[in-house]
Each structure stands twice: as C-alpha cells, then as structure tokens.
Amino acid sequence: MRKRSLIPILYIAFLMLPIYWLVAMSFKTTNEILSGFSLFPQTFTLDNYITIFTDPTWYWGYINSIIYVTINTVLSVCVALPAAYAFSRYRFLGDKQLFFWLLTNRMAPAAVFALPFFQLYSSIHLFDTYLAVALAHTLFNVPLAVWILEGFMRGIPKELDETAYVDGYSFPRFFVKIFLPNIKAGVGVAAFFCFMFSWVEMLLAKTLTAVEAKPIAAVMTRTASSAGYELGLLAAAGTLTIIPGAIVIWFVRNYIARGFAMGRV
C-alpha cells in the first residue's frame, strides 16, 4: 500500500514543480531573477502584484476575461439544457447526425476559425465586445455542454417524466421543479467545463478583441514584448490566472471525475 501511494505523490510533485516556480518567480525582483539562480525568493517583494492591482490595463484584463467567460457559461448551459433533454429522451429525424455534427465543432481547430470569425464579428459590429468572445466560445462549449448534460440526463429514469405528467405537471413546470434538481450535478459540471474551456482559450479571445474587451492573455503578451522582458510581472500575472480555476474546481470536486467522463460511467 505504501509503495502504491508513491506514484500519485510523485506525479503530483511533477505537476506542482512548474507552478511552484511560477509563484516563486512572482515574489522576486527583476534584479534577482536576472542575477542568477535562487530556489526561494531572497528579497521577498510584492511589487509585481501591486503593479497589477494598481494599473487599470492589468486588472481590467482579468475583469474582461471573467465577464465574457460568465456570459459564455450562462448562454451555453441555457441553450444546451433543452437540446440535451431532447437527445436523451426522444428519437427524431436526423438526431444521430445532428449530434455528431455538433461534436464536429468541438473538433474544429481554433486556428481555422480565427480569421473568418474576425470578419464575421466585424461585419455585425460586435468586434471588441464581450458578446463576440462569449458567442465565439459557444462554438466548442455548446456541443460539450450538450454532450455532458445528455450523459447525466440518460441516468435519470423515464418514469420520473411520466409520473410527473400523470400528476398533472405541465412540461415547463416539470422541467424546472422536478427535472433540474435531479440533474443539479450535471448542470454544475457542464457549467464548470464551459467556464474552464472559455477561461483557457486564448487564440479566439485575442483575435476578437482590441481594447475594450481585451482578455488578460493579450495584456500579458504585450508586456512580454514591449516592456523589456519583465519576468517577475509576467509570473505574477500568470499566478493570478490560476486562482479563478482553483476556486471553481473546489466546488465540483466530488463530481469532477464523473464530469470528465461526460456522465458516461
């Protein structure tokens, strides 16, 4: 048993090393970073974080990212719920083809869509808005949400629906009052995944924004290129991007394994 637990410990240590290094860097001064190697920060400083929290271009990057991620998550889950219900409960003309077509959008390389998306959203005057990024990210988040929710809904016996109709529930009332509470976990997991993929995606988010809705990633790349190479500042900005993910993951920790299996276990 002791020997067996060595593997997860080693694996987690491997995962934590680069993260530790990023965090350690963020507390170092630029001088210390450039002067040579040190395992722990010698002159512990919070300057990098102070810069980020006092400069509007920096902290607006985070706020912008969080706004479009939230819009995207709400939108994706709301449209995916009825569709997933249809796929899990009914057979209809072209259902299998439609399901696969939805999934193909999850497979499309973002690089393929970067330029056409730029032109599409420019032409409808949505370029550089939160809505543009949120809508663009539904391309891969909606199929994923449908897939996850469908997996969870399939686990709910059909008798539940039938009993509710016998009891005189109308469909909308049944869906909200009875069905939704039963797939709470699924909705949470789907929302988590939408949040996750919208938060980490950068190519489309950067392509579709210029000033107003600029995500944190774009702010970071600009810093890396223009203001010399301020590694400490870059590390602090990177460290801060880990925090929202760590918070949301804590909420779904009990369902995360099942969620990654798309409810298909």
């Binding site: 680069p18 290094w21 209809f92 973002a110 393929v112 980490v200 990177g238």
Partner: protein, 287 residues
C-alpha cells in the same frame, strides 16, 4: 427506450441556431477563399482546386503534417499508459481523494498562454529551475531556443504535464464505478494483479478510455497556444505544428487562398480520425 417524437426538434432549435451561426458562416467564408485568388481591393478570381493541389504537394505542409502526427502519436503513447498507471494507484476512498483530484486537475485550468509562459520560465537556462538543474547540476547541455531536440522534449513534457490528468480523471471515474464485489470474487478465485487489471478494470475503463483518447487526439491535433508561446515554432521550423503554420500563413502572410485550403484539409483530417473514434465509442454505448 427513447420514444419517437419529431417535435423534439424545437428543443434543439436554439442550439442549432447558435452553432449554425458560428460554424456555417465562417466555414462558408473559408470555402469561398479556398477556391479563389485575390490581389487585394476585394477583387477575387476563380482559382478552382488549385490551392488544394498546391498545399497537398508543398513540402512545407507535408513537413508540418508529419510533425503534427509525430507529436500527437508521442503524447498519446506517453499520456495514456501514464494516466492508467496513476489512476490505478490512486486511493479510492478517504480524505486524500478530493485533494488528489483538485491538485491533478489544476494544470488543465490554467490559460494556455500562461502554460507556455510558465514552461518558458521553468526551462530558461541559468534562471529556470529545470534549465538550471539540467545545465549546471547535471551538466547536460540543454537550451530550448537553440536545439530542436530540447525544444521537442520540452513541448512533449509540457503537454504531458498539462493533459495527463485528463486521462487519469477519466480512468479514475471508470475505476470507482466497479463494485467491491468484483474484487472480492477475484480474490476468492486467487486472481493475480494482472488478471484483475485485464479482466475487471480494463473492460470497465474501455468507454472512458475511448473518450480520453478521442479528446486527447482532437486537442493535441489542434494545439496552438502553448507551443507557440513556448517555442514560437522554433528553433527554425522544428516545432511548427499544423496550427502554428496555419496562423503564420493566414494572419502573418495574409495568404487567404492557401490558408483556407489548408484549413479545410486540416479540418477534414481531424474530422476523419475523430469520426473513427466516435463510432467506436457509440458502438460501446449501444451495447
């Protein structure tokens, strides 16, 4: 059993409208560009299938495609077995389970450009932890910006770091769904560890493993941000994977025709391989 009901289409309509807007319009734009030549000023000339022929024959595309397949094959060969091993040795119950799960999932929640920056900082010679350790402690000559081999190893290790947990979590989900009675029966029969794995654990993991391989294939085949931030495709073109090359042509050189043709070929390959995995997976679902 699901009942036949054509009105179910109404439930699917919102999704359909949204995804169609996002997928069909850009896709048609790409198809349009792929058969035309432009000299700017919004003037377009019919080009037919010329771009497709040119791309398929070009050494540059073939080299990028080769690198892409090599990359995807390598990361699948490392991540899948490693993921299974870690999942098998994880605790099934107790307070350590959520801790393990959260820590393991953490790399997947870091924005992709930050992953690239993080590994860049981690591997810098003299400054980075790994770069310092390899160069100054072990005495290995390691510099990602100069040596193609070092760059490749770094990109692979970065992806293993980033995504192995996906395989772990999926396999783990399959493993915890096995009832204790199976293990007890195996114990009574005196089954070896290997036969427990082969006849109890592996069959239970089959569906989730297919999902894992499908997701890992799609995402590794489409990978862009992490290697771009880490190596920028270099040194030379050694780590220029398909997406990096495509963005170079489309947004860097603004060669719309070839870029569009390349996009379609690229998408078709992803689609074809994913479809094979998907049919395998849904066949399991039906059983």
């Amino acid at each position: 059993m699901r009942t036949e009901n054509q009105r179910a289409w109404f439930f699917v309509l919102p999704v359909l409208a949204l995804v169609a807007f996002n997928a069909l319009v850009p896709m048609m734009t790409v198809v349009n560009y792929s058969v035309q030549e432009t000299f700017g000023n919004n003037q377009f000339f019919w080009e037919g299938l010329g771009w497709f022929e040119q791309i398929l024959r070009s050494d540059r595309f073939q080299a990028a495609l080769g690198r892409q397949f090599l990359f995807t094959a390598l990361i699948l060969m490392i991540e899948v077995p490693l993921g299974i091993i870690v999942a098998l040795s994880m605790p099934r119950k107790g307070i350590w389970v959520p801790v393990c799960l959260v820590l393991m999932a953490l790399p997947m929640l870091i924005p992709w450009n930050v992953v690239g920056s993080m590994w860049n900082i981690f591997t810098l010679p003299k400054i980075g932890l790994l770069g310092y350790f390899l160069n100054d402690v072990l005495g290995i000559n390691y510099d990602m910006t100069q040596q193609p081999i070092s760059a490749w190893i770094t990109v692979i290790v970065m992806d293993v770091w980033h995504w192995t947990s996906l395989v772990v979590l999926l396999c783990y989900a399959g493993l915890v769904s096995i009832p204790d009675a199976y293990y007890q029966a195996a114990k009574i029969d005196g089954a070896s560890n290997w036969s427990v794995f082969r006849y109890i654990q592996l069959p239970k993991m089959k569906t989730v493993l297919t999902i894992a391989i499908l997701l890992r294939f799609m995402d590794s085949f489409n990978i862009y941000t992490e290697p771009f931030v880490l190596t920028g495709g270099g040194p030379g073109n050694s780590t220029t994977l398909l997406s990096i090359d495509l963005v170079k042509i489309a947004l860097g050189q603004f060669d719309l025709g070839p870029a569009a043709a390349m996009s379609l070929i690229y998408f078709a390959i992803t689609l074809l391989v994913s479809w094979v995995f998907y049919t395998l997976m849904t066949k399991d679902d039906a059983e």
